[in-house]
């Protein structure tokens, strides 16, 4: 209660006696129903919260807003010192330029690679996850072994991949990136789906098995539909990881299979930086992920912490 008063708007240094007198006064004021002090304190606390929320929003949204605005500025606006904040004649010229210089191909490459990886990871991953959750295959260690693969540093496997793909003539192809992204999405999908399977009751599957349903049928027709929200959430996260991946993409692709993350690098020339095009590509790369993250809002924490926090 002491600190409550000190926190108040009329904070003045008080001696110990004054504080205790104050406390008695405060308590009796509360008993009499005079809640002015409490009300102002609450008001102050909540306005401090709003101030902090606004400051945080400004800090975390400013860079995103800035790169979005850049896509609509003229070169004389983003190459002005000090910079102009609001574009005066916004146009879609950079988007058109991005489309003309192979932006659509980069977008479709990204879509093809992310979608294929996601579907494969979900299919293979949930089947494995089902066996881990229901039949406890491999005991406790196998799930944790699979989880640990999610943290493999890309640089530890990149050189062998380079040599293999060169030998297979797979450099700069979709299948190369799809295979590599499976490496990271599969452990993730298995681990997440195992958590979701463990949460659904097993009685329905058991009675289906007794009725002569095959284990595969029990998985496909009973368990999988029950975990479909988890399946969608896991899929969205796999999609986001593949979509935003850069290290392997820049190492493996050159021109045919470039994804958006590699494509954008082209606009950062040694001599000249095409900020407008960088802004436009950034918007194209951000919007789908923003929409997807809103769709799985309920599973965000779970998805980002690999199921450790629900």
């Amino acid at each position: 209660m002491c600190h409550a008063i000190v926190l108040g708007p009329s904070a003045i240094p008080m001696s110990q006696d004054q504080v205790s007198i104050c406390m008695v006064g405060f308590a009796s004021a509360m008993m009499r129903g005079e809640l002015m002090g409490l009300r102002t304190r609450k008001l102050l606390a909540s306005s401090i919260r709003y101030v902090i929320a606004v400051v945080a929003l400004a800090f975390f949204l400013f860079p995103i807003v800035w790169i979005i605005l850049t896509a609509f500025k003229t070169p004389s606006e983003f190459l002005k010192s000090p910079p102009v904040w609001i574009p005066r004649t916004p146009s879609s010229i950079y988007f058109e330029h991005v489309v003309q210089t192979g932006g659509l191909r980069a977008l479709s490459n990204t879509l093809i690679i992310s979608t294929s990886t996601t579907l494969l990871a979900l299919l293979i991953g949930s089947l494995a996850a089902y066996a881990l959750a229901r039949y406890r295959v491999g005991g406790d260690n196998l799930p944790f072994f699979i989880l640990s693969q999610r943290f493999m540093p890309p640089v530890a496997v990149i050189f062998p991949f380079l040599l293999f793909f060169k030998a297979l003539r797979w450099m700069d192809t979709h299948q190369a990136l799809i295979l590599i992204y499976l490496t990271f999405n599969l452990p993730y999908a298995v681990w997440m789906m195992r958590g979701f399977f463990m949460e659904i009751p097993r009685e329905i599957e058991e009675s289906a098995l007794v009725d002569g349903c095959s284990p595969l049928g029990a998985f496909w027709r009973i368990a999988l539909p029950l975990v479909s929200p988890g399946l969608v959430a896991t899929g969205v996260f796999c999609f986001i990881f593949s979509w935003a991946e850069f290290f392997f993409a820049v190492a493996i692709t050159k021109s045919q299979a470039v994804t958006l993350s590699v494509y954008i690098v082209n606009f950062f020339g040694k001599m000249m930086v095409q900020w407008g095009e960088i802004g436009a590509t950034s918007i194209v790369s951000m919007v789908p992920l923003f929409i997807l993250s809103f769709l799985v809002q309920r599973y965000l924490v779970r998805g980002l912490t690999l199921g450790a926090v629900k």
């Binding site: 860079p63 991953g125 089902y130 699979i146 493999m152 640089v155 599969l186 950034s282 980002l304």
Partner: protein, 306 residues
Amino acid sequence: MAATTEAFTLKSETPRRKRRDLIPWMFVAPCIIIILLVTIFPTVYSLGLSLTKWEIGLQERPFIGLGNYIELFSTARFWHALLITLLVVVIGVSIEFLLGFGLAQTLSGQMKGKRIVVAALLLPVMVMPVVVGYTWRLLWDAQYGPINQIIGWIIGQPFTYTWLAKTETALLAILVTEIWQWTPFMFLVFLSGLAVLDPEIFEAADIDGASGWAKLWYITLPLMRPIIVVALLIRGLDALKFFDIIFTLTGGGPGNSTETLSFYIYQMGYQFFRLGYGAAASFVLLVFLAMFLTYLLKAFKSAVGS
């Protein structure tokens, strides 16, 4: 009658049961095969690579034992890259934790428009790291960047500091960027952690006259410990692989002063085609990662159970 049925089922069940036991393994098999093929095999291959002299222009790839590792450990640039990596992990992740926790503590509980605020605060996590790097490169720009402009407003005269051209401030810029992108992650995790704490504990503490700090230190932090450990480890492990933002924000510069280990290894492979040497460096990173990972797996076992 009962005995015969039992015997009957026993006899016919044995081979069937064996097949039944195999089915779960068949479910896991595709997954295990892919992991072995795409992760374990390359890693082992990479270990072999790190013991050979694999360089462009060389006809042979002689086995040189620990030669690459010895060269690595006597290279100042490698140690510097390791130092930068650990700085990002330790300083970056600590500040993310403090800011994220503070923000979660402030914004927990009821608030008007909270859902929108939380959703908006989370957007940085969803931006491609490559885009994040370019965006901040523009923000820090000496002439065209709004950061110098705002500082100029505050001090009342034009300010044109070249943040990314000096090692100390380039490192600062990297840390700010990393903190910007991942503080929201910490915030979200702690916000949902705080939401499930039992309010009765805090009410009891209030009755006992506990101060705000005492409640934080003796109740909130101990209860949140498992979540904090998991969040720190996940972030730390990902930060060890820090690459994309370096690539687009500073390009490792000025000079090589902001190279992380991943960036250094990439350079070794792509600029100098020293695959053996690069593979050796990647194994050092792998060892660091493995140490963190053991803790993470332990934390997971206690947080989610098995």
